[in-house]
């Protein structure tokens, strides 16, 4: 008798470990949200974070038309059709960056990092696969300062602008495959979070010359905090279909998500070092104040043997969204982005791990949804990536690196050069395997 089985008690323990990790990561994520540093995150909901696997990040942020079997593609709800029916997929992903930001007269360097996503997926049947996950939706993080004149004097005071927070999303994607080549996807989820914008007016170092010699005014610090909290459910739809011509596989995909208004509230708290509440006001804005725009995307993937070529296009209808702009001189406009990628898979399954690595390359361009001072902010990025198998198992470590340039020093704006790293731990566990007796 040949006996092949999986000790269920071992998998139960693994499942608990994974669940515990998820809970821990989510809780840490909530407390460590500052995963960007950009003056441009001042506007709207902040810098939008693509919902993607680190593998896609190495391919120019593409993936709408990919249906990989060795990692969970969350770029399209329909992209789960490639998942293996005997495998439970778990992905834990982190992001880190080192950025250099410059204006014509000033510059700074900054680095930070945070959790970038957690995903679990499986194939439930021949025609259905699903995944659940968490990912950041947008991030806000900036530190800026300036000196302002005290009206009526020749004195100046320091003012510091700091932003933190951002939005998160949790999603449940389902892919339904028909006729082996057509997959429809639907993803439901929630977006929530808070954006804190704080203005600190520091009068402690103000010097006055009211009566002859310059003396220190010795005023206090005043903290002016605006906190925007928002949440709502959202639905995203996706489709993929593919066909083969000889050894060539062609796959097309698309996604759509309708405009989603956010339930939001607004707190305005003014405080100083003596009183935590010099002024407090809470306003629940109109539902139209914050919204996630209508989003479209289309993609193409071509695979032959070990090589895959991808191209994606995204369109987000930000011009239809009346997000709070905090009185800034900035306009929202429709956001376009295009990316392309190349993936090369080496070796065979039985080869040593160093011969089974996967290499990725990509490029990306995005015109931002923010237009400032007549300048449409553009983002250019070059990406590379690698998948490193862990031993002879299907588990792997995926690394995506991106060099990104955003903005310009023209017209007093900021040019940002980012070195973004994404590292993902892909765990594949063989589940759902039934015992077989000869």
């Amino acid at each position: 008798m040949k006996f092949i089985t999986i000790p269920m008690i071992e998998y139960s323990a693994k499942l608990k470990a994974i669940a515990a990790s998820v809970v821990l990561m989510l809780s840490l994520t909530i407390s460590a949200q500052n995963s960007t540093s950009s003056p441009y995150s001042l506007y709207g909901m902040g810098i939008l974070a693509p919902k993607e696997n680190a593998a896609a990040a190495g391919m120019g942020h593409t993936g709408v038309a990919m249906a990989p079997s060795d990692w969970i593609n969350v770029a399209n709800p329909a992209a789960l059709s490639g998942l293996d029916s005997l495998t439970f997929y778990f992905n834990f992903q982190m992001k880190a960056f080192y950025a250099h930001e410059a204006t014509p007269s000033d510059q700074q360097s900054v680095y930070s990092g945070n959790i970038d996503g957690i995903t679990m997926g499986f194939r439930g049947s021949r025609w259905w696969a699903a995944c659940i996950g968490y990912a950041p939706y947008s991030t806000v993080g900036y530190n800026m300062s300036e000196k302002k004149n005290i009206a009526g004097t020749t004195s100046w005071y320091d003012i510091y602008y700091t932003g933190s927070g951002g939005l998160q999303q949790a999603f449940f994607n389902n892919a339904f495959t028909f006729f082996n080549h057509i997959t429809l996807g639907v993803g439901a989820g929630a977006i929530w979070g808070a954006i804190n914008k704080k203005e600190t007016a520091d009068f402690s170092a103000v010097e006055i010359t009211t009566f002859g010699p310059t003396v220190l005014l010795g005023g206090e610090k005043v903290y002016n905090l605006k906190k925007y909290t928002m949440n709502n459910w959202y639905v995203e739809y996706g489709i993929q279909f593919d066909f083969n011509i000889g050894k060539n596989n062609f796959r097309f995909g698309g996604t759509f998500a309708d405009r989603t208004s956010m339930h939001s509230s607004y707190d305005h708290i003014v405080s100083n070092d003596i009183s935590s509440e010099l002024f407090f006001d809470d306003v629940t804005p109109l539902k139209e104040e914050f919204a996630v725009p209508r989003m479209y995307s289309g993609g193409f993937a071509y695979t032959r043997d070990k090589v895959t070529v991808t191209a994606d296009y995204h369109f987000n209808e930000w011009s239809d969204v009346l997000n709070v702009k905090f009185g800034e001189s900035v306009n929202f406009r429709d956001n376009h982005s295009i990316g392309g990628g190349l993936e090369w898979r080496c070796g065979k399954r039985d080869d040593p791990f160093y011969k089974r690595m996967t290499f990725r390359l990509g490029g990306y361009y995005e015109s931002s949804y923010i237009k400032m001072r007549g300048v449409t902010l553009g983002t250019y990025a070059g990406t590379v990536g690698i998948t490193i198998p862990m031993g002879r198992s299907q588990n792997s470590i995926v690394i995506g690196y991106e060099y990104r340039r955003r903005g310009t020093t023209f017209n007093g704006l900021v040019e940002e050069k980012f070195n973004n790293f994404k590292i993902a731990l892909n765990i594949h566990e063989t589940w759902f395997m039934k015992s077989k007796f000869d």
Binding site: V110, I150, T153, E220
Partner: protein, 428 residues
């Protein structure tokens, strides 16, 4: 679990390229304040060990006069020996060196005894009204020419008739117990009034606890057997100065009741500070209520009050270098001194403008007080205010006089300087 800590070299100095904040900071000295004068005490003022005696001229008040009233102790000993002989009775006073007016002219000090003990009607912590002190009789006088800043110990002989009266009293109570004798002593020495004769041009200060009346005697035919019996000040808290103004038709004459104030508009844009007479300067911030009512949406980050003393009412070399501010309500009832956010008492500092030597003013940080007022919103009483006091408490230890320029003075006007931060309130 690895969590990256964010880090940056420094804040990005982006000027106003990115941020279009509506918040702003503003300085203003145009918030109206009003100085006024009121009279806290109208009869007698506790002098706390300083006896002011004399008379001198003050602007806006005419001649200001002062005399000291003291409650005295019992005789240091009773009993009169059979062969004991009376010699003399003397008084000792120690000049503190403080003075007002012309000290180059002789001043005649008159010492009087009160027929009944001084009775106090204590209704406040520091101020006492004596309504029923009786006429007194002179027990001696002397003249001397004071010298500025000298602190002579003065010892003068009083009338022998007073000494003999004391001797007669001692002999009369010789057979009585000391308690009874002491009780009866108050009937002939209820207190001492030290005043002046004539029309002196100076006010002099003496240490009250230095005042001592001594009865000198000796035992007949016993050489060097001298006996002294002393009468001292009973307590420094039982010594008062009665200060009054004469020959005046000033706007401050209307201050006959405590709850009256003379506004700076009524007194030629001035207010008065004269602790000896009970005159105090009150500062009102009536316009703050309007600010609070109009949704100020601002926070005062610094509020400094600048009070200018009238140039002719102080000696630049002797002007006090600080004063304190005490809360007062619409009925001129005193509250506590005001404090800053750290719990320290707010004091004003004397500032001499190094560019304009004529510009001398007091400067006090009243940020915490102003913010507290603004925070109370509708509850602001426009007639509440602050009182200037030289001491940290309402204890008029000196004969201090000064006029202040009001907010509506033409030059060197007293002002409230405010730096306030206005925050944007609207959502967008």
């Amino acid at each position: 679990m690895v969590i990256f800590a964010s880090c940056s070299d420094e804040d990005f100095n982006m000027t106003s390229t990115f941020v279009n904040s509506q918040s702003r900071a503003t300085y203003t000295d145009q918030i109206p304040i009003e100085l006024s004068t009121f009279r806290l005490d109208s009869v007698l003022t506790s002098a706390q060990n300083v006896m002011w005696v004399g008379r001198c001229e003050k602007p806006s008040l005419g001649h200001v006069c002062s005399q000291s009233l003291s409650r005295m102790s019992d005789l240091s000993s009773y009993g009169w020996a059979q062969k004991e002989k009376y010699d003399s009775v003397t008084i000792v006073l120690r000049h503190t060196g403080d003075y007002q007016g012309d000290t180059m002219k002789a001043i005649t000090i008159d010492v009087q005894r009160l027929g009944e003990p001084l009775q106090f009607a204590v209704n406040e912590s520091y101020f006492y009204n004596v309504r029923n002190f009786k006429d007194s009789t002179s027990i001696g006088h002397f003249s001397f020419v004071p010298r500025p800043h000298s602190r002579p110990r003065l010892r003068y002989r009083l009338d022998d008739s007073f000494g003999e009266e004391l001797v007669a009293f001692i002999k009369e109570v010789n057979h009585l117990s000391s308690d009874v004798a002491s009780k009866r002593f108050e009937s002939i020495m209820g207190g001492v009034r030290v005043t002046y004769l004539g029309e002196p041009e100076a006010l002099l200060a003496f240490r009250a606890d230095s005042m001592k009346i001594t009865l000198h005697s000796h035992i007949d035919r016993v050489e060097n057997w001298k006996i002294s019996r002393t009468i001292s000040l009973k307590s420094t808290s039982m010594q008062f100065n009665r200060i009054w103004a004469e020959d005046t038709e000033s706007p401050f004459d209307k201050l006959t009741k405590r709850n009256i104030r003379v506004t700076e508009q009524e007194s030629n844009s001035h207010s008065m500070m004269f602790e000896g007479l009970g005159y105090y300067t009150c500062i009102n911030f009536s316009s703050l209520k309007q600010l609070a009512d109009e949704n100020f949406f601002s926070h005062v980050v610094k509020a400094m009050i600048r009070i200018y003393p009238e140039r002719d009412t102080y000696d630049k070399h002797e002007i006090p270098t600080t004063f304190y501010l005490t809360e007062i309500n619409r009925y001129n009832a005193l509250g506590d001194v005001i404090y800053n956010s750290s719990g320290g008492r707010v004091s004003a500092t004397l500032v001499n403008n190094i560019i304009d030597e004529d510009e001398v003013f007091y400067y006090a940080d009243i940020t915490y007080y102003i913010n507290t007022l603004l925070a109370s919103g509708d509850e602001i009483d426009e007639d509440d205010g602050l009182v200037i006091t030289w001491g940290s408490a309402m204890s008029p230890i000196n004969y201090n006089y000064m006029m202040f320029n009001g907010h509506y003075a033409t030059k060197y006007k007293s002002i409230l300087e405010v730096y306030y931060y206005t925050y944007d309130r609207v959502l967008r």
